[in-house]
């Protein structure tokens, strides 16, 4: 319990730090931050939108601590300001459109990459020095060195453009209306396949290597030798004795990796015009939509922190030793 509380404290602090960064960064920009920010919107914004923006971001002209207080007050009411690119829509509404798709894409690819990578790591460690163990890790390291979005472009070119077997863009067929019908879900899955594959390809190597090294450590334990001596079947030793224990360090890495994979998947979404946060992000960058950019930063940070905490809870549940602490 103390472990979980300590972790929770860390995440609350991290959340506060990112809220504050979000407040400070615009004010650190060279020149007068408020006018620098608004100069870019010249001619694009109605006066009332400008006033709303000023207020939502706390650019009220008062002393800094008052600005900060008003910024926090707006934030806790769920007010992130008005989007410039999608004016007059609120940032929160714009973000809501993309959140589900990003969660679907990142969630499914992280889970698949984790499961696949861990399995490959188990096999590689079991047959250490074998053909599988000597060829696959370097290959996956090489794949992992490509930028995520570049792999996405290549997959798009190969399967979407040249072979024309999979869709090139969007999250579902434009002719279908979102519903829970089979044809819609099938279309979602079909559109998910290429972007998810590119993220899995780029991230599976890391999982495999860390699983492999922790598995090698576990294989040297006495209880594994004992299991061999008892004459248990290799499969049973591999999964029930060794892999189960070797998985723990990988679970700790899960939360940390999530933030990194999310960054990669934002870029992947852009390649596939996948309507998630990444796609919104590029719109925000192109139209210098600062409120939207900052909104994306905040939602993604909060999501990553929440996921990290869930992983910690899972870890306590998986490893009884942490419960004593």
């Amino acid at each position: 319990m103390r472990y979980l509380l300590r972790q929770l404290g860390l995440y609350v602090l991290a959340a506060w730090a990112s809220l504050t960064l979000n407040f400070i960064v615009p004010r650190l920009a060279p020149g007068d931050p408020a006018s620098a920010m608004f100069a870019r919107y010249k001619g694009q914004l109605q006066p009332e939108a400008l006033a709303a923006l000023r207020e939502a971001f706390g650019f009220t002209g008062g002393p800094l601590h008052e600005q900060y207080a008003s910024y926090l007050a707006h934030l806790f009411r769920g007010d992130l300001g008005v989007s410039v690119a999608y004016f007059p829509a609120k940032v929160t509404d714009v973000l809501g459109m993309g959140l589900g798709w990003t969660a679907l894409l990142t969630g499914s690819s992280v889970v698949v990459a984790f499961a696949l990578g861990s399995l490959l790591g188990v096999i590689a460690a079991w047959r250490r020095g074998g053909a599988f163990d000597t060829t696959l890790p370097p290959l996956l390291v090489f794949l992992g060195a490509f930028p995520y979005f570049w792999l996405a472009m290549m997959l798009l070119y190969g399967f979407g453009f040249t072979l024309d077997v999979l869709p090139l863009r969007h999250a579902y067929d434009d002719t279908l209306a979102p519903s829970l019908s089979f044809s819609f879900l099938a279309s979602v899955a079909e559109h998910l396949l290429l972007p998810a594959t590119s993220i899995v390809l780029a991230s599976v190597g890391g999982w495999m290597l860390s699983m492999r090294s922790s598995m090698i450590g576990v294989l040297a334990e006495d209880y594994v030798t004992m299991a061999h001596a008892k004459g248990l079947s290799p499969l049973r030793i591999m999964f029930h004795y060794a892999a189960r224990n070797a998985l723990l360090p990988n679970v700790t890495g899960f939360g940390m990796a999530l933030g990194f994979v999310l960054g990669g998947s934002l870029l992947t979404e852009i390649v596939f015009s996948y309507p998630g946060q990444g796609y919104l992000l590029v719109q925000a960058v192109r139209s210098q939509d600062y409120p939207l950019m900052q909104g994306i930063f905040l939602t993604i940070t909060m999501a990553v922190l929440a996921a990290n905490f869930l992983v910690d809870v899972l870890y306590v549940w998986l490893d009884p030793r942490t419960r004593g602490r």
Binding site: L10, Y11, L13, A14, A17, S18, L21, N22, V25, W126, R127, R128, G129, G130, V141, F142, A145, F146, P147, F149, W150, M153, M154, L156, Y157, T162, L168, S213, I216, G217, V218, L219, A220, V224, T225, P234, G255, L258, G259, F260, L262, G263, G264, L266, L267, I270, V271, L281, V282, V285, R286, Q288, Y290, M293, Q294, I296, F297, T301, L305, N308
Partner: protein
Amino acid sequence: MTSTKIPRKASAGLVILGVFFLMALLGPLVAPYDPSAFVDIPLQPPSRAHLLGTTGQGQDVWSQTIAGARTSLLVGFVAGLAMTTIGAIVGAIAGTFGGLVDDVLSLLTNVSLVIPGLPLAVVLAAYLPAGTKALLVVLVATGWAWNARVIRAQVLSLRNKDFVAAAIVTGESRLYIVFREILPNMTSVLASCFISATVYAIGAQVGLEFLGLGDMSLVTWGTNLYWASNDAALLTGAWWTLVPTGLSVALVGTALVLVSFSLDEITNPRLRAVSDWARALATRGIRPGASTPVVRDHG
């Protein structure tokens, strides 16, 4: 295997890195055309006049790839060096001083570790004036924490060694002990931190520039990909505007990782023993999984 011999992995990595360094250094001398000039009909596939074809804006892809190496590698290595330096200072001070100093610095490190890097980098890069300096600041600000954590852990394990105790007894100041006794004894950790920081910096830089953040008038690997995607390279089938740059990024990344793996193997006798053991088993035709290694490589 003796420790003086350079492992095969490392030599492969060093050769690849050497080629790219030469490319970056000699860039303008080897590049056949001005990388940002309009030299021929846009979107031409590779030919004898243009080894890697031309871009959507009629630039020579081969010249652009060479020119991109200079900026991208420079930014990557400088950022990597800065991240390692900050990480070493923070990690070493946290590890040596302990107590409240350690608590505060560790908290700072952990907080920056859990805040996702790319979204933060985007916000920072959007507000800073576009340019190489701003990019460096953004990369270092989002990437220093991992190094600090790794270095702190290593310092903690060195702190109780006899030579540190001897230095304390001699009456050396704590800062002297950190920078003259402890840090020089973990060169291999610092080197592998530097390598992973550089890999991160190159990747993040390419990603940010691909988004359109940074100085788009420069020729770098990131801007090459940005323009290729802006000119709808894929939908016109112009794979040659994407492949050289992506391959360069991946080759440099892989080469750095290869060097880093070998560093581990050279400096960590346990890892070396494991790979020697595996090799010895393989030459005798024994399946490694069925036996118990003598050396435990954990704990």
